[in-house]
Amino acid sequence: MIYWLLFYEFFKVGLFAIGGGLVTVPFLFDLSEHYAWFSTKELADMIAIAESTPGPLGVNMATFAGYKTAGIPGAVAATFGLVLPSLVIIMIIAGLLKKFKDNPYVRQVLSGIRPAVMALILMAGYEIARLAILSFENFILFVLFALSIRFYKASPVFYMIVAAVVGIIFKL
């Protein structure tokens, strides 16, 4: 049954793709070779589309493949399959963390991890900057945004909408 197969294959992707985002890409290429759900070219298009649509790439791809193969129920089956492994695992960890929050070892481990996460955040910012800031004009805009975000703490959604409008007006 196609729904079951979609669920099962994306369940495996969800279980083995550790690290999120682009880590799912090799798994998806694998799928495109095994099944006629989507072609390699469609996957490449999808990666491009995913960059300009909201939501995580893995979820977008599961929905896309599921829909192409078996309509909306297929999209639901594939996405549910993708999300289920982490849903179960995170729920277990959330329970454990609650219980052991004050354990000294857990606290030490977290104290080591936090600065590393800060480095990951900075790196993620750098990766996006490489795609976003392509000219001097872009850089000026970036500085203006950075300053206004720093001094007028409006919602991030507000800044994104402003940026979309600015992008259209100035043909970025």
Partner: protein
């Protein structure tokens, strides 16, 4: 519970470019507005989401939902964060495929990417004092940043190594007292 759903639906709708692009939105909605987590807890969720299977954005949503409303909350937050992309992608796959190469959309997203870069940088500075404390913090941060930048090592390995490093000061202290 409804608020949980609405908050994560909004975050899912405005996350462009994966897990870390979601961070400014999470900080604004979850830490500042709803007070469902502190900055420190958000960092912990990210590190756990990074090292466990699945998509970081989804993992963080599950985590926050579970912590506040139990298992039902975890499921609800997860549903809420994937629902916007499911709807949008289904629409694209069904009718909008050509529309995606629209010139206006391209310009709009070029603008959004610049704002997202600035937003992430802002969140980074917001969290700096809470995330990087003392010489130990500076050292771990600097090492992780250098390794990430120059050696392109997997983020999973970085987090695991940092977790072990976190135990070192404790071990050193115990040896001294012996």
């Amino acid at each position: 519970m409804l608020q949980l759903f609405l908050s994560f639906f909004k975050i899912g709708l405005f996350t462009f470019g994966g897990g870390y692009a979601m961070l400014p939105l999470l900080q604004d909605e979850i830490v500042r507005r709803r007070r469902w987590a502190t900055d420190e807890e958000l960092m912990d969720y990210y590190s756990i989401g990074q090292c466990t299977p699945g998509i970081i954005a989804v993992n963080v949503a599950t985590f926050i939902g579970t912590r506040h409303y139990g298992k039902a909350g975890g499921c609800l937050a997860t549903l809420a964060i994937v629902l916007p992309s499911m709807i949008i992608i289904t629409l694209i796959a069904a009718v909008l495929a050509r529309y995606m190469h629209n010139e206006y959309l391209t310009h709009a997203f070029a603008g959004i990417r610049i704002a997202v870069t600035a937003l992430i940088l802002n969140t980074f500075f917001d969290m700096w004092k809470k995330g990087v404390k003392g010489y130990f913090g500076y050292t771990v941060f600097a090492l992780a940043a250098v390794i990430l930048f120059f050696f392109n090592l997997s983020a999973v390995l970085i987090v695991i190594a940092a977790a072990l490093t976190g135990l070192l000061p404790g071990i050193a202290r115990r040896k001294k007292t012996k």
